[in-house]
Amino acid sequence: MSTLYEAMVGVIERHITPMAGRVGQQKHIIAIRDGFLAALPFMIIGSFMLVFIFPPFDPDTHWGFARSWLDFSVRYRNQLMLPFNLSMGVMTFFISVGIGASLGKHYKLDPIMSGLLAFMAFLLVAAPYHDKQISVAYFSGQGIFTAILAAIYSSEMYAWLKHHNITIRLPKEVPTGVARSFEILIPVVVIVATLHPLNLLVEHFTGMIIPEAIMQLLAPLVSASDSLPAMLLSVLVCQILWFAGIHGALIVTGIMNPFWMTNLALNQSALAAGAPLPHIYLQGFWDHYLLIGGVGSTLPLAFLLLLSRSVHLRTIGRLGVVPSFFNINEPILFGTPIIMNPVMFLPFILVPMVNATFAWTATKLGWVSQVVQLTPWTTPAPIGASWAANWTLSPVIMCLFCMVMSAVMYYPFLKAYERTLLKKQDESQDAEAQVALNS
């Protein structure tokens, strides 16, 4: 067991840590993460509208309050849908600008310019314009990967042009201000002159516009991202990285976000159409079932720490319990510590994976309602679980079940660790007593 553990730590330190470092610092992955971060407030508030449009009540209810809410939502559905359609429905606008600006900052370009350039690059390929009307089909989930690629392409191109000093050469007599006013046209010209013909070409040969073609290409990957093995793998990677002291969630969510958002939009349109929701593993599922109180679902552990007989563990519990309600658990991870602590390795890895399996199965069986809203990750887990699933009750029960599972699984390992700490505590007290006697 101990040699196995040592071998594993060796592999983590030699191979996994450096790889995570490279992936986590890859400029495009960072830009995608920051882009989504910038888009998030618009999307959270936009998706919040869903509870007004689709109240969480039985349509045949006779309860007066619910009845009037339902009637209101039916009557004013179009008006209520507007803020949703102009935020979640056009999320790619915010995402493309966010990614473009972030990459622009990385290359020390004007972030407003590179953000807007990304926006235009996205519109050029994803906004088919006919008879004075633009189709919105690819402005939501179906356009996310296109928005990412368009933003990366346009920012890289802008940086490349700037780096190679490609500009319009004017005679020396022309004032520098005038020269500059022509300079900023170049990236725009290059983006239009490359993307527009590409779009026409793709459309001519495949009959599809670019976002359509991209989604067709990525369809297997996107649907695979919402499966039990994919979920367990992403959780495992996150836990192993965190165990090694690396912010694994930052890396894993950075990669999962485009998939989660694409599938979230599909759930939302299914809800609007009154169809069964197709997807289970989304951001709300990750945050409120698998990271209850932070990575490793340590909120129940924080309660256990408060009751510990070890002074050290009790101190950590007191330090960590309040932030844990808001899913911040660095004091617990580094203070207990759980990071690189062989005793805590197994529960830390297994708790979220076991909970993931339970929550997945229960959702698949239709016992627990699915995620349709975006939530801030700092929302206390049972509230966030309910919010994400359009304020229904079943996710709260699922979340509480996961908390009990977490407590049960951490308990024996915590006790074992506590015993070793108590032994040290007693020894040091003995030593102190000895010193006091001798003096």
């Binding site: 971060l37 900052k105 912010h247 932030p323 911040i328 004091p331 580094f334 510590p337």
Partner: protein, 123 residues
């Protein structure tokens, strides 16, 4: 809150003014600036106890580039220590030291030790 005359300047962000006032400026940085903001409070309490004039703030890594030039030292949460090398490259030009906080000091939120560590890096 102290009363009476107090030097008020609207150039609080100006590093030269701050140096002139002998104020130490410390930046903490983690993934979202959440857990470091807890530590900031502890460090500020410790500095107040010692009567030190310090300015301590916490930011997420996405704000690193804009913020670090305003500080004399940058400390990273241990969970983003893997970024140390590339972040240090950025600060090298300005000669601003960057270091990772010790895991246990971070976990235990030891404001005193982290403050000592930060001050030891400012020279």
């Amino acid at each position: 809150m102290e009363t009476g005359f107090r030097f008020v300047s609207n150039g609080d962000e100006n590093p030269h003014l701050l140096r002139w006032r002998k104020m130490k400026t410390i930046m903490l940085c983690c993934s979202a600036g959440m857990s470091t903001s807890m530590l900031v409070k502890k460090m500020q309490a410790e500095a107040e106890k010692r009567g030190l004039d310090v300015k301590i703030d916490a930011y997420g890594v996405s704000e690193f580039d804009e913020q670090f030039p305003h500080y004399q030292v940058v400390l990273l949460g241990p969970q983003v220590k893997y970024m140390l090398e590339s972040l240090a490259e950025k600060t090298l030009e300005q000669g601003i030291p960057v270091a990772a906080i010790d895991m246990m000091d971070y976990g235990m939120q030891r404001g005193d030790k982290v403050l000592d560590f930060a001050l030891s890096l400012i020279k």
